[in-house]
């Protein structure tokens, strides 16, 4: 770090009344001043992140972005750290195909019987997932993760060994 950058940091670090430094951070591309250390909850409040959204800290290089827990865990911020919020899985919508008809449902965990009701499959029928290597009949009481682009079909619960 050259002397110019050092001087700039000195100018932008502000000491709060509680003796904490303040740094400039960015949440959803908006600049905010935040004390450091701070907490996840304080960051959510600072940018008024809705309860169905999750905050992530942007990582550099090959590292994965880290979710910020909405709790009292201490976080150490650095000047110009970047954060972004995303809708939680429960709020995301995915497009699936059921019996060759396009449907839009929320992403994530589904009780199979609830998914059948949501996409209009008769409760008496079996919902099956069309996977690349097999057709998988889904138990009504099972839970599955639904992802964008997945294909399903329904068929009658028929047939018996004889």
């Amino acid at each position: 770090m050259g002397p110019g950058r050092e001087n700039w940091n000195i100018r932008t670090y502000i000491m709060t009344a509680e003796g904490k430094h303040e740094v400039r951070i960015h949440i959803d591309r908006q600049p905010y001043q935040s004390p450091t250390p701070t907490t996840g909850e304080a960051l959510y409040n600072l940018a008024d992140i809705g309860k169905h959204k999750e905050l992530f800290k942007e990582a550099t290089g090959d590292h994965e972005d880290k979710p910020v827990a909405r709790d009292h865990t201490e976080l150490h911020l650095h000047q110009d750290d970047h954060f972004y919020s995303e809708k939680e899985e429960a709020e995301k919508k995915v497009h699936i195909t059921v019996d060759r008809v396009a449907k839009t449902v929320r992403a994530g965990d589904w009780l199979v019987s609830a998914l059948k009701a949501e996409v209009g499959v008769d409760a008496a029928k079996v919902l099956a997932q069309i996977k690349p290597h097999e057709l998988v009949d889904l138990d009504d009481a099972a839970h599955i993760k639904v992802h964008d682009g997945e294909k399903f079909m329904s068929h009658a619960r028929t047939g018996a060994s004889s």
Binding site: H133, E134, L135, D137, M153, H155, A156, G159, S162
Partner: protein, 120 residues
Amino acid sequence: MSQEQNDAALLEPIADLCDGQVSFKTEGWRRLILMEGLRFKAGPRQCTMDGLLCLNHDNTTYPTKLYLTENVGCGLNWNESPYLLGRQWHTFSWSNVSQDQSPFAILAAHLAPLSKGSPS
């Protein structure tokens, strides 16, 4: 929709489960769908083999049949090895899968006991 387009629409979902071609065939009174490289599970075993779906078997208890090139066990009663379309097939006794549904639904109903079974 022409007959050709209707046939293609019926076969398209089955083609999702096959490596090769899927086509309607007939032999005598039988209306058949030949499925080349049908992918399915027989218990824990991943299988790929040709299959033949009969949409109008002449038996009221067994109105439809699935024939495979191999007996994959699964605790089912494999009791018939007919010669159809110039080759030998094997089938298990699986009753009451109605003709009154799409070919894909018929196929799914016949594949279900294989995926749940244990291979011999």
